[in-house]
């Protein structure tokens, strides 16, 4: 017999409502958490992608510094930095800051920076840097009277550092000897040797140099000024400063003694002999004409041609250290 009480058939109604709430709760919980997690995961993946893209763009910056020169100017503490930087990468590069660091052996270090504007270089293009920097405002003491070591670098907007390298002498051209520290830091171009023969004339301050002679046969009695082509190949890539006590010196067998006189280093400016001489700087990697004289061998008792050994005595400073070198590979034919 069927149950005639209608209340008995409604006992499960609360359970249904409870189940609905339970399903609702679980749905809200699961879907909300899932959707939010998904959105956060998407944001994280986006950030990872941006990070990778940033790293990739940083790595894609590729620059080549072609040459850098440092030129002190306007007294002390000021230096001009000139460099050519080629963008050999695939993206444009924006330089934002240039830094310079100057050191000597004291030890002293000075540095400074300068913000660059409109310094963007497209792929394949060359950026010509020409900027002046003053070092004294941060660290005092710079004095470019003496040689200093320079280092400078550029900062790109992506955080890369581009070192501005000075001209590198290719090892294919320069072969340093393995002994006697490469046979010195200064090289002479033997084919470029010249001298100026003043005949019997007197050489004084402002005398114009005559036409040069490309010969190792040097007159005995005439005043001559020797012109040597010297190149600074110092291993430390520093400039060499020659002092006034640098000479071209010859030894004669006829007089049976070392000749006391010699050709002292000289100052020739604009084709004229200048009697005053202070110092002469040989920049690293550059060929410089160095003049000696005026003087004459003036051998007494010698007849005909006499071949004598020549010593090129160079004294000064390399960087901030003493420097001395003798180039003994030259011979003169003294024509009496």
């Amino acid at each position: 017999m069927r149950n005639s009480n209608p209340s008995k058939g409604k006992r499960g109604f609360s359970s249904i409502v409870g189940s609905v709430f339970m399903v609702l709760i679980m749905s809200v919980l699961a879907s909300g958490y899932f959707v939010y997690t998904l959105s956060q995961n998407t944001a994280y993946n986006t950030a990872v992608g941006q990070k990778n893209q940033l790293d990739q763009s940083v790595r894609s910056e590729n620059l080549q510094c072609l040459n850098t020169t440092y030129t002190p100017f306007n007294g002390t503490n000021n230096v001009n930095v000139n460099a050519r930087i080629q963008n050999i990468g695939s993206t444009s590069v924006q330089f934002i800051t240039i830094w310079i660091c100057i050191t000597n052996s004291t030890p002293w270090t000075g540095y400074n920076f300068s913000t660059l504007t409109n310094a963007t270089v497209q792929p394949g293009n060359v950026y010509q840097l020409n900027t002046n920097l003053t070092v004294s405002n941060l660290v005092s003491g710079a004095n470019f009277t003496y040689s200093y070591n320079y280092a400078s670098w550029l900062i790109t907007s992506k955080g890369n550092t581009v070192a501005l390298l000075q001209q590198i002498i290719s090892s294919n051209v320069i072969i340093s000897a393995q002994v006697a520290q490469g046979i010195g830091s200064i090289s002479m171009d033997f084919k470029a040797f010249r001298y100026y023969d003043f005949g019997s004339g007197y050489v004084s301050n402002g005398t114009v140099l005559p036409s040069s002679k490309n010969s190792y046969t040097v007159p005995n009695s005439n005043n001559t000024i020797l012109a040597l082509q010297l190149t600074n190949y110092d291993n430390s890539t520093q400039d060499i400063t020659l002092y006034s006590n640098s000479y071209v010196w010859i030894v004669t067998p006829q007089s049976s003694t070392v000749k006391p006189a010699a050709w002292a280093i000289a100052n020739v400016t604009s084709g004229r002999y200048i009697s005053s001489f202070s110092t002469l700087t040989l920049p690293y990697g550059k060929s410089t004409t160095v003049y000696f004289g005026p003087s004459s061998p003036s051998f007494s008792g010698a007849v005909g041609n006499v071949v004598v050994p020549v010593f090129i005595l160079l004294y000064g400073r390399v960087g901030s250290a003493d420097f001395g070198q003798n180039i003994p590979f030259v011979a003169f034919n003294i024509q009496t």
Binding site: N5, P6, S7, K10, F13, S14, V17, G18, V20, F21, M22, L24, I25, V28, L29, G32, Y33, Y36, T37, Q40, N41, A43, Y44, A47, V48, Q50, K51, L54, V58, I96, T97, W99, C101, T109, Y111, F113, T115, V139, I155, S157, K158, G159, N160, T161
Partner: protein, 166 residues
């Protein structure tokens, strides 16, 4: 023999069942709402924590600091580091700095590192593309030229490092 009142009371069972069902239903609904609210609240808490954690990681990923120059002044015994915010997020601050020699920790500064712009004005943080510096009082343990590594910990927890010589 039952009285008339008792008989009538027995015949009202149906009314009590409806009331009880309604009470039960109301209780279930109320409990359901409480549980739902609790679940939503708890879910919000979890999602907020997860969001904070994920956001922190995302911000760390977007941080990038480059060292422009690190200079040790042996006279004043100070280490000055010049940095650039080259990342994708603003307000980069430095919370700690560590100086290492090889793998050995030489010194650490964890009391908050004041930042300055390059014009020496104080900076709370560096925005994207901005350059700044910080100065640490530090004495190099070696009187001779040596190489060290400086590590910085940003306010968001990212590490960046750079070599320098004294």
């Amino acid at each position: 023999m039952q009285s008339k009142f008792q008989k009538r009371l027995k015949t009202r069972r149906a009314i009590s069942a409806v009331i009880s069902n309604m009470v039960l239903l109301a209780a279930v609904i109320a409990a359901g709402f409480v549980a739902l609210q609790y679940t939503i609240s708890t879910s919000n808490t979890y999602t907020t924590q997860y969001g904070t954690s994920a956001g922190s990681s995302i911000n760390q990923l977007r941080e990038k600091v480059a060292f422009e120059y690190v200079f040790y002044n042996s006279t004043s015994k100070t280490l000055t580091a010049y940095i650039l915010n080259c990342g994708k997020i603003d307000n980069v601050s430095i919370s700690a700095a560590y100086i290492r020699n090889q793998s050995t920790l030489i010194d650490s500064k964890t009391n908050g590192i004041p930042l300055y712009f390059l014009n020496n004005t104080s900076a709370q943080g560096l925005n994207v593309g901005q350059e700044g510096k910080f100065v640490l009082s530090w004495t190099s343990p070696s009187g001779q030229t040596s190489s060290y590594m400086i590590q910085i910990l940003t306010g968001r927890g990212s590490f960046f490092e750079n070599m320098f010589t004294t």
